[in-house]
């Protein structure tokens, strides 16, 4: 409970956000939208981290640091992903994930 807000509320919000992200990841065709879904997933995890940190272990800062690192990794990931997406777009003139199966079998 944090000032009247129970931990479970945070967790449920995070969970819903997480699975919405998953849904987006599974359904979307456009690579950029898939990337956005990934961001949703990462953020939901961050929420959980900080909620746990604040409510269960208020004297520590691990949750927050993890979130910071995750944000950093997310930034790196996003920049890489967008670089790759643009590259793919240059070659194939579309960024439909279903058409990218050159490496199957």
């Amino acid at each position: 409970m944090f000032e009247g807000v129970p931990l479970t509320w945070f967790l449920i919000t995070g969970t819903i956000m997480f699975f919405v992200g998953i849904y987006g990841f599974l359904v979307r065709k456009n690579l950029i939208t898939i990337l956005m879904s990934t961001e949703l997933i990462l953020n939901s995890v961050n929420i959980n981290f900080v909620a746990f940190n604040k409510i269960l272990y208020p004297d520590h800062l691990e949750g927050m640091f993890f979130s910071i690192f995750i944000i950093a990794v997310a930034a790196a990931e996003a920049s890489m992903a967008i670089a790759i997406i643009i590259n793919i777009y240059r070659r194939l003139v579309n960024i439909d994930v279903e058409k990218m199966n050159e490496m199957k079998y």
Binding site: I22, F25, L26, M100, N101, K104, Y105
Partner: protein, 641 residues
């Protein structure tokens, strides 16, 4: 006891000749290899005569007055089981010595003749090498000490016959004839082999001395009923006879013999008239004690097959036009008579008259039939044709051949005092004692023999005057001298008191002419000759009219009663098309197909599994997420319960 071990050289000389001529023959002039082979045979001939003399006149007889039967040489060749082993050796007894003489004599004559006949042929060297191989195998066969040795040499004569029939290997007919001869006799040999296996299993030995001795295990073992109410001994003897029937061209395994005439004529004289084809008779004679004591039913089979073959072949012989084929059917008929004689024979003394008669006829037949063939060879050599229609009036051109051929014809027709008369008389006498019906059958055969021989004789030497492209002339001395020598044999061989040498129990006995049988036999022969004279002395249409009058029968006889066609049907149609071809198909599609099917299934399965690897990122993710969800469900379920 006289040392007979030198007789092994009678075997080894031709083997050495075969190897030397076969491997190195083409380094010499052709004539050299011919002469070498002939010289070798001459030595063997002398050795055989010496052996015969020493055996019959010098060697003391056994206590009961019989000629001894002993191994002059023996050597272990292969061990099979504890009791069964194959030996190689030389067995001497009256019939093997008689066969030695027959083979070496005829073979020697044929060698000499061939030097003239084959002169200028390609493959002269090959011819003599194979002849040596044949001599070796045939001699090995007759002196075999055990039935397996006999089988070994039996196969070897088969292959030398194959090689010699197919001597003109660029001629398709010769190739298929040789193939046919080999395969048919091979089929018969299968029976022989099975017979040997059965016999050796029940008696525990291959050895002739044991098998045909007084206390032979064959008399006591294998007597239980095995199949169709016959004892296993009877079956084994029938199977063994099947081998003999194949080699001796008995009905229904005779079909190869007429075709075998595709070989060079000297070969026909040696192999397909005088020696190899009588191997079956020799085989039955060799095992005669077993036949008579342990398997009388099998002996009856021999009798009936012999009698039927003799009349069957005689009828066909009357309708053929190829002179060599006439002689081939005549051979078959004569061998049938020999078989018949064995079949009717009893054992011991006068009871064994048929046995003696059979051997006697074998002996005399060798002379006059080889003479006939060599004469036919001389004619073919002169005319370059086998067909009697293209001949006629040859007596003017070929006086020596004519004279010798006539002698042989009289001999085979059974007119006294030539050799055929004596032996045939004994056969008829033996037959008369056993079965009147078969006696008359043989009487008819004898008449038919006289008829077709003189039909042949008149068609060739008398008949119409034919114009030849080349003036026919006698062959060289190489050819005429053997003819003359053999005709002496054909004339005089009958005067040998054969029963003093050869008898079923090896004890000499006296057998005189029985006028009650001899007179009708001669009369029948004369009638046959008379009819032939009327028909063929001058060119008439009479034979054709009679031929047409008999209609279907004569047509069937001309076509050899369609036996060939039946065989062809069975082999070509049934075996080839309905067995072998489906097997090939079955193998390709079913057996191999199931193997390929397994590979196909594996391939398909892997193809299906491979499709999971679609390269679709989202699909992977979906599977992953679903997997996680399901696993979570599973674990929660497991943990809560």
């Amino acid at each position: 006891m006289i040392d007979f071990s030198y007789t092994v050289w009678i075997l080894l000389i031709p083997l050495v000749m075969f190897v030397v001529v076969g491997l190195f023959g083409n380094r010499f002039k052709p004539l050299v290899s011919g002469l070498a082979g002939t010289a070798g045979l001459f030595v063997m001939w002398i050795l055989s005569l010496v052996t015969a003399y020493k055996y019959f006149f010098v060697l003391e007889k056994a206590a009961d007055g019989s000629f001894q039967k002993f191994l002059a040489f023996n050597m272990r060749w292969l061990n099979l089981t504890d009791t069964l082993h194959i030996d190689m050796g030389v067995l001497l007894d009256p019939i093997s010595i008689m066969m030695l003489i027959v083979i070496t004599t005829v073979s020697f004559m044929v060698h000499v003749y061939s030097i003239g006949y084959m002169d200028g042929e390609k493959g002269f060297m090959r011819f003599f090498a194979t002849l040596s191989l044949f001599s070796f195998s045939m001699l090995g066969l007759v002196v075999a000490t055990n039935i397996f040795q006999m089988y070994i040499f039996w196969e070897l004569v088969g292959v030398s016959s194959y090689l010699l029939i197919g001597f003109y290997y660029t001629k398709d007919s010769a190739v298929s004839a040789s193939k046919k001869a080999f395969i048919v006799t091979r089929f018969a040999d299968l029976g022989f082999l099975i017979g040997i296996l059965m016999l050796s299993f029940s008696t525990g030995t291959f050895d002739f001395l044991t098998l045909t001795g007084a206390n032979s295990p064959a008399f006591s073992s294998g007597t239980g009923i095995m199949f169709l109410g016959l004892s296993s001994m009877t079956w084994s003897m029938i199977f063994i006879f099947m081998g003999g029937a194949g080699k001796s061209a008995m009905f229904p395994l005779h079909i190869w013999l007429p075709d075998a005439m595709e070989g060079p004529t000297p070969v026909s004289a040696l192999i397909h008239a005088a020696t190899m084809v009588v191997a079956g008779v020799y085989l039955v004679a060799r095992l005669f004690p077993i036949y008579i004591f342990a398997a009388p039913v099998a002996l009856d089979v021999v009798m009936y097959v012999g009698a039927f073959s003799s009349i069957f072949a005689a009828v066909i012989a009357c309708t053929q036009f190829d002179i060599k084929r006439v002689l081939a059917y005549s051979t078959m008929s004569q061998i049938g008579m020999m078989m018949f004689a064995l079949g009717v024979s009893g054992y011991g003394g006068h009871e064994g008259l048929g046995y003696m008669a059979s051997m006697f006829h074998l002996f005399t037949h060798a002379f006059f039939k080889s003479l006939l063939f060599l004469g036919a060879g001389a004619i073919i050599h002169a005319v370059h044709s086998n067909v009697m229609n293209e001949m006629g009036g040859l007596r003017k051109y070929l006086p020596i051949t004519h004279a010798t051929f006539l002698i042989a014809c009289i001999a085979i027709a059974g007119i006294p005092p030539l050799s055929g008369f004596f032996s045939k008389d004994e056969i008829l006498a033996a037959g008369h004692e056993r079965s009147l019906m078969l006696y008359w059958v043989e009487m008819i055969v004898s008449g038919l023999t006289a008829f077709y021989m003189f039909r042949l004789y008149f068609s060739i030497f008398w008949g119409k005057e034919t114009h030849y492209h080349h003036m026919p002339h006698e062959g060289s001395k190489w050819m005429t001298v053997p003819l003359m020598l053999l005709s002496i044999g054909a004339m005089l061989a009958g005067f040998i008191p054969f029963s003093m040498f050869v008898s079923s129990d090896r004890i000499p006995f006296h057998s005189g002419l029985e006028m009650s049988i001899a007179i009708p036999a001669v009369l029948v022969g004369l009638i046959g000759i008379a009819i032939a004279t009327v028909f063929y002395r001058k060119e008439t249409t009479l034979p054709d009219r009679i031929y047409n009058a008999l209609g279907g029968f004569s047509n069937a006889a001309f076509h050899k009663f369609y036996i060939d066609e039946v065989y062809l049907f069975i082999t070509k149609k049934i075996i080839f098309n309905y067995v072998s071809r489906p097997i090939a198909w079955f193998d390709r599609h079913i057996v191999d197909g199931s193997m390929n099917g397994m590979a196909y299934v594996t391939n398909e399965v892997s193809d299906r599994i491979k499709r999971f690897q679609s390269g679709q990122l989202q699909q992977y993710a979906l599977v992953f997420v679903s997997g996680v969800v399901l696993l979570t469900l599973l674990f929660t379920y497991l943990m809560t319960n």
